[in-house]
Symmetry: C2
Subunit: 382 residues, 2 copies
């Protein structure tokens, strides 16, 4: 099987072998509905409880604050729609660079009489201080700002934003799916009311995520029924995926400090190669994820470049993978004031635990070769 070098760890990750081992019994002799009152059910329940403790520990939360969902998108929707359903319609404010699974549910609230506002970011992709101030003056009921951006890797100062938002009476949520396992994510220290996690971004399986939520926030369930997850997320629990999520949290946090340094070194070496080759780096803010490199070459379409790199044996992304059915240029870059033509050149490389120095070096070489070819083609066509 042709296996290109995988350089798209922000889109999804291979399942960690230890995670896989933890999951396999739940696809075999251990099975059952965790609500069942027999041996099979009790074992499933105990496995879910253990995973809940692992997930909570990874982000310094209490296990009772963990609501398991089918993934990050569902958790983000659960916070916004679930909290809104328990309040009078008001203002919902989300940053202009949120993932669509935050922006879209915020937009959907308009149907219920809510006003939706996007908080601007500055040229670095950080929350714009003036727009933030005026947003808070408008007294939002619900605020959501992501901890780390999936495309640029830029981090927001969520601790400070949370203090300010809560002082104004808002509930504040942060989408931390790209942050977990890459930087410290501490639910208590951040001071947010709610936080979203996803298993498949950290070496866990697809199909599991969580909303970490403090109990002051009343939520209506998106999926109502059997009453699982304290009535906040019904449906028979996906035991294998939840067990894998727990194991992945533990593994990701355990290796983080070592990996942070290793990945930042690899990323910095790639940045240097890119700059020397004439690329524009879109993410050079000081506070950013250690594994993410977002760049473009003038006049070279990002999609085209990603296609060429794929055929050369390197898997990376142009826009955000989760919404790449959308041919529009990156909304994150547009929000940062990048011109659409420049935004269309964007390519994202994101590194992870299996990424080697050799892969990064070979990627840099292939990239320069392909960029030269494309430039020559363009010159001949001109």
């Amino acid at each position: 099987m042709f296996a290109p070098a995988y350089l798209d760890w922000n889109a999804s990750t291979p399942v960690d072998p230890a995670v896989r081992e933890a999951m396999l019994p739940w696809l075999d002799a251990s099975f059952g509905n965790a609500s069942s009152r027999h041996e099979y059910g009790r074992r499933a329940r105990a496995a879910i409880d253990a995973a809940r403790a692992q997930v909570a520990a990874a982000v310094n939360a209490h296990p009772t604050e963990v609501i398991f969902t089918s993934g990050g998108s569902e958790a983000n929707n659960l916070f916004l729609k679930g909290a809104a359903a328990m309040m009078k319609p008001g203002l919902v404010a989300v940053s202009a660079i949120e993932h669509p699974c935050v922006r879209e549910p915020a937009r959907q609230l308009r149907r219920l009489g809510w006003v939706m506002r996007e908080v601007a970011v500055d040229v670095h992709g950080c929350i714009d201080a003036d727009d933030w101030k005026s947003t808070l003056e408008a007294r939002p009921s619900l605020v959501s700002v992501m901890l780390a951006n999936n495309e640029t890797g830029v981090l927001q100062d969520i601790g400070a934003l949370a203090t300010q938002a809560k002082a104004g009476g808002a509930y504040i949520h942060t989408d931390a799916v790209q942050a977990l396992g890459k930087i410290v994510v501490d639910f208590r220290a951040l001071g947010v009311n709610a936080l979203t996690l996803s298993a498949h971004k950290i070496g866990g399986p697809l199909g599991a995520g969580a909303l970490i939520v403090d109990k002051r926030v009343e939520l209506a369930p998106l999926v109502a029924g059997g009453g699982q997850e304290r009535g906040l997320r019904s449906g028979t629990e996906n035991v294998a995926a939840i067990v894998g999520f727990g194991a992945a949290c533990e593994a990701a946090v355990a290796r983080m400090s070592k990996e942070q340094r290793r990945l930042a070194d690899l990323r910095d070496s790639l940045d240097a190669v890119l700059v020397a080759a004439g690329a524009t780096l879109f993410s050079t803010a000081p506070a950013r994820l250690p594994n993410t490199c977002f760049f473009g070459f003038d006049g070279i379409d990002g999609e085209t470049l990603v296609g060429k790199l794929d055929r050369a044996g390197f898997a990376c992304a142009s826009g955000s993978a989760c919404s790449s059915a959308n041919p529009e240029p990156s909304h994150t870059l547009l929000a940062m004031g990048v011109a659409p033509d420049t935004a269309r050149t964007a390519v994202r490389v994101s590194l992870g635990r299996d990424t080697t120095a050799k892969q990064v070096t070979e990627f840099g070489g292939a990239l320069i070769r392909i960029v030269d070819e494309l430039k020559n083609l363009a010159a001949m066509a001109a």
Copy 2:
């Protein structure tokens, strides 16, 4: 590991070995976000497309009518809330014996101005003809009646109900999670607008289900964001679970006609033992699932009996497993007019592909012994 005989196949099922084989690559070298535009992403997309065709074929639907969800509960919620969001508030009618994941979302619609009505059933657990008629006279916009009940196994004549409901202008949905793999489920022949399926009830994994829906029904997504599943269910697709769901559909349909007869024979032999031992059978309607036996012994609490059976090495259920956190007697039996004290005696045995004649015989013996013990204890205490 202590492994009791598993007689609770309506609650969940072990993963079929062939399904497990199909899933394993997706927890290993095959991984990736199906929206990614590289080799990993394309493989994931192709696997999802193949599974979609398998699921559609199993119920005689078109692949474009399949919306993958995280399970049956989500699919039921998606139909009720998603369709309601696109309509003016009206009447939503669901049968009194629906699973909580149909009744609860229907109740939640009241907040949005909807009127919710429960359609009565008769003593056999079939839709009451008079109440059905008067429900339709009230012109419901949305109707949901399950194809097979999870507790009694009783089947409804969904084809006839659908014709009548649609003639009155309603959209009609059926929860078919207990029917799939046990009886023929034909989306076209049933004539419903939407139908819910679940993988883990048919030898597939937890974490996958589907809403089969005809395109006349406009739906708002529960989970909005990246635009997956034609915008109706965002979130990175759970490839392993979807692949397993597809394989499980194919396997379940392939073995169905043979299994139907085998399971009905086993169930009939158990029924005979139960009747001889003085049990009340709650489900003797002619049209019922071949694998389900729902019964009770006067004066013997169902929960207690299930606990004793569990310790004796037999895993079965009292109320519906999915809502067994709820200590109330079975709402299905109450709706059938069974007295609460009698409903509290209910025990459900549900058989499946690994169930053997030996297990059923041994179960019958253990049950009679335990019932005698409990009766003697009760007599001594009296």
